[in-house]
Symmetry: D2
Subunit: 333 residues, 4 copies
């Protein structure tokens, strides 16, 4: 009983998901690759012996498609999730669910109305060994109760030339917003955001401070033009100790009066195992297993959108913004 | 066209291979688990929905078994490889091919007589990112021509109570013998071996120095009772620089006046990715692809056995021993 | 022409200074140790063959005292500096100059009126190799123009039982306030401050965000109850790269399934070399050399006090506070 | 009662010692700098306000010279130590005492005949924090009884164009020979030595294996053309754990897709504190304190010479050489 999966979106992330389905998910098969750009869909589909398509809604409806992975442009995420829910099919949707918290609520309500979980959100860090070890250090008492969390999110250069600080908050920071909620198991209640000035016209970093309902403080630096490489780091400080991510490199080199290790150009190598585990957890769920406890849901997508909206408001106003989530529906308990 | 694989040996390594075949090799299926201990075979087979068996020769002969993975006791490796060759089936055999170099030669000759490669040897480090980066640092000129290689092989405690220094050379060191040949691309010509004295009756470490035909010097420490954990390390020194493995840990902890990272209890976490890649390379070959260039062959098994034999002789005699491999057959070029 | 130095204050820092003068400053001699507690003064004086005294003003006036080191309680710093200025003697004063910015201004005006520098302030990090390398990475262009600076200041436990968040800002953070000004060479213009909640009655950490007139953003964490040890860290992010302090430990230990390095219990080992270099720079100046360019002055003490006052106001109000320094007098250019 | 010191030899090491005496040894004064090259002596003497001289024997005899530091060419060490003993003056002599073990014995016998210790040998690593921590890990039981010690001694490039493998053993390795004796507190009994082949005419590294009377095994790599920088490392393996030196760097830099720390060009920065502590220990002794327990003596110089002689014989013969020290005289217990 092989699960037939369609990947919607044949860009960078779509190509990664297609490869994982085709090569790294025994029990699943890649049936369709769908992209508005027919040539791009065909190229990726051919690589893995799948069928190409251009209409995502039609793909979702196909009888020979059991489950979906959505990796199309951000604005399409919520509508496609709604279509999946409507079709009664499970979907692994790339983050963000939507940049609009109210659109996220539409998905929540649709899912709740349908009477069962249909959406798993691609906050893959919840499957990364480093963050799992950090969470365990809290739950097993190693570092005591959590007090602070520091996050750094650095990319070598901006993906788009007209990238703005607000986009750093809505596009890059959601991973940080989600992981702070996952690690601390507490909802954010306020946020401030500020930016240093660069001497050129590239987007400057954004520095945020988030408070949680349990009184924890989280700092987040998003630097989309760090120049030296991709570098995501975190430190979690408890009342009796601290745990931090390390820089992972298999080797180090002594040469030219320096000892050095390499930086990755982007996130794919760093999170390869997390994506693999996440997608396998999705498959396990689709095949009838329980919803993976650690996976992000529509609710988590809504929460991330709410924090991002408050973050953008904080950045523009220069003032601390409150974050008021609706009460968590029983459905997402 | 799914490849049906039988795993022979249901011990620690057999269980790992069975899991990899069942869960991590799309395109392969675990058909049979074979072990002299019927209950052990059944237990492992059940876990992965495979069939259990107790007679390896019969398993090799089965029409519904396309390829074999041999992880049974060391003394059975060569006979089972001969049976696979005879049956015209491809086999991934755990190291060592044999502790007897002459038995290894039997396998070489049988394979050559059969007229095609049938044996891939499980020196999985050739698929480990760290060693691959070290080799690349040589081939791309990063560190210049190789001069020295240092290897450390530490286990927390001896696997067997009556473990000896000779066994450290024949059982643990072959990984080091193989990786030095793979990294340096040069055959060893001499070896010395010595042991410090322990204050208890546990087996003491063995320190070896190997010279290669290209004039490189390799040191090897095998410490089967390192007490603190599993720890395998290497440094490769070239004429213009050096490259070394790092200690891989996803997180570090600050607590009780120390900053620390963890050690693995054994090799399985450290080399999980290497086993995965190795077994997939085997599958690729079985499915008709080229023999994986980096994989170890019967020839490499013979070379490792020759070094180990000389190492044991050096340890017992206290003198440097020459290592004289037969000329490499054209077949293994 | 040996310089005769009096150390005022025989507590922890006074004892360190006395030892440095007596053992590590060729060309200087420890003439007097002064403390309100006569026994404590005598004990420390005896250890180094110096004279004991209890009246600091009388000591400052002595003909056989050429220069002063002030390490008495914080509230005495400014009055004693004024006395030294009045007596025309040079003084190395422990930080802070005063917790009151207006009292700092009194010292500035007195020094300016006297017509020459008399006060060197003990912000010893300006002599620490790590911070000097960070500054050099800016001045030599290694990391490009500065964008952000992150500082962490952690003590094992609170020095005093009734320590408050405000005290963390006025007592511990001034080192961070000074080093950000020294590294960035830019004056702070605003500050926010917030605290997580602890589950016990110990003082919680303080998290501050400081903006500079050149548009840089600085984060500061002061955690006086970090539990695991003394740990001061910094990272400076430029437009083209980043430089960070490392954890300094001469050795690492593999034991009990962990690889670890030690944390210091307090700052004295970490900054031993900085104190040594600072005090020698002071001696060089006293002996007629130029005022050490990198040393902190009364002006720097005033700036630190201004930031601390704004930080306390920000903590209490929950709002961002502006910092408005007076124009830097020509005298301190 | 200031101690008046003469430094003999105004080369690299002599200049360092002169600076330490002049600037870092309160209670000592640099009276004379002596070098066969009058201009070099004068230049160094002038820098520190000392007197210049060219005849070391005359300097040793001077009434206004209380103690000597010998940093002249290696062949002069033993004769000058003998002259100091004869004059009844204490001397801190740079290593080696002599490359000839029999000449070392002459010094031993002269010192014993004179009836008191006069020679302290400049094996400064005995005052280095890293090696002291390693020794403490043995004496306090942290890592259990010592089993193995690995040492790496790397220089960026050969000091002399006609440097040979034998010179690597007699000039560079003595630091390793001494520190193994100091750490293990056991005398070496045998040694092997071998060299890889370089592709150019630079001296190749030397790899040595030393056995001790307590059954420990020590490996030593001396690589005088490591190209990438100065790098001295050690790991000490006990029965229950291991301790190793770390790479000391105050900062690390992220830039150009690498994270890196710097290597020193030579030993002076790495061992600055060790030299300082060693020379102060010498001063303490000259002023009437006990002979510093950890300092190297003539006996240690003899032992190092014996190991080096056996090492050279082992390198030339290709065979293991025994090392037979005379029984340690009671005088050096």
């Amino acid at each position: 009983m092989t699960i037939r999966i369609a990947v919607i979106g044949a860009g960078l992330m779509g190509a990664d998901h297609a490869r994982i389905v085709a090569e790294d998910m025994p029990g699943a098969t890649l049936r369709v690759v769908c992209d508005r750009d027919a040539a791009r869909a065909a190229s990726l589909a051919d690589r893995h012996g799948a069928e190409a398509a251009t209409d995502p809604v039609a793909v979702i409806a196909r009888d020979d498609v059991d489950a979906l992975i959505v990796a199309s442009p951000d604005v399409t995420h919520a509508p496609l999730c709604l279509a999946c829910i409507s079709a009664g099919k499970k979907v692994l949707c790339e983050k963000p669910l939507s940049q609009s918290s109210s659109e996220c609520l539409d998905v929540l309500r649709a899912e709740e109305a349908r009477g069962g979980r249909h959406v798993m959100l691609g906050f893959m860090r919840r499957f990364d060994p480093a963050y799992l070890q950090m969470r365990r250090a809290l739950t097993d008492g190693t570092i005591g109760r959590a007090l602070m969390l520091h996050n750094w999110h650095r990319n070598g250069s901006t993906p788009a030339p007209d990238f703005t600080g607000a986009m750093a908050i809505t596009n890059s920071a959601p991973h940080e917003f989600d992981i702070l909620r996952y690690l601390l198991d507490s909802e954010p209640v306020c946020i401030t955001a500020t930016q240093p000035r660069r001497s050129d016209d590239k987007v400057a970093p954004v520095v945020m401070v988030v408070g949680t309902e349990d009184g924890q403080i989280v700092t987040i630096e998003v630097n989309n033009n760090a120049a030296y490489g991709y570098d995501v780091k975190a430190e979690l400080i408890g009342e009796t100790g601290s745990i931090a991510t390390t820089h992972l490199s298999h080797t180090r080199i002594d040469k030219d009066a320096r000892q050095s290790v390499g930086h990755d150009p982007d996130w794919r190598n760093r999170y390869a195992e997390a994506y693999r585990q996440q997608n396998r957890a999705f498959l396990h769920w689709v095949r009838g297993g329980d919803y993976p406890g650690r996976a992000a849901s529509s609710w988590d997508g809504y929460a991330a959108a709410m924090i991002a909206e408050a973050g953008v408001a904080a950045l523009h106003s220069g003032r601390r913004q409150d974050i008021s989530l609706i009460p968590r529906p029983e459905f997402y308990a």
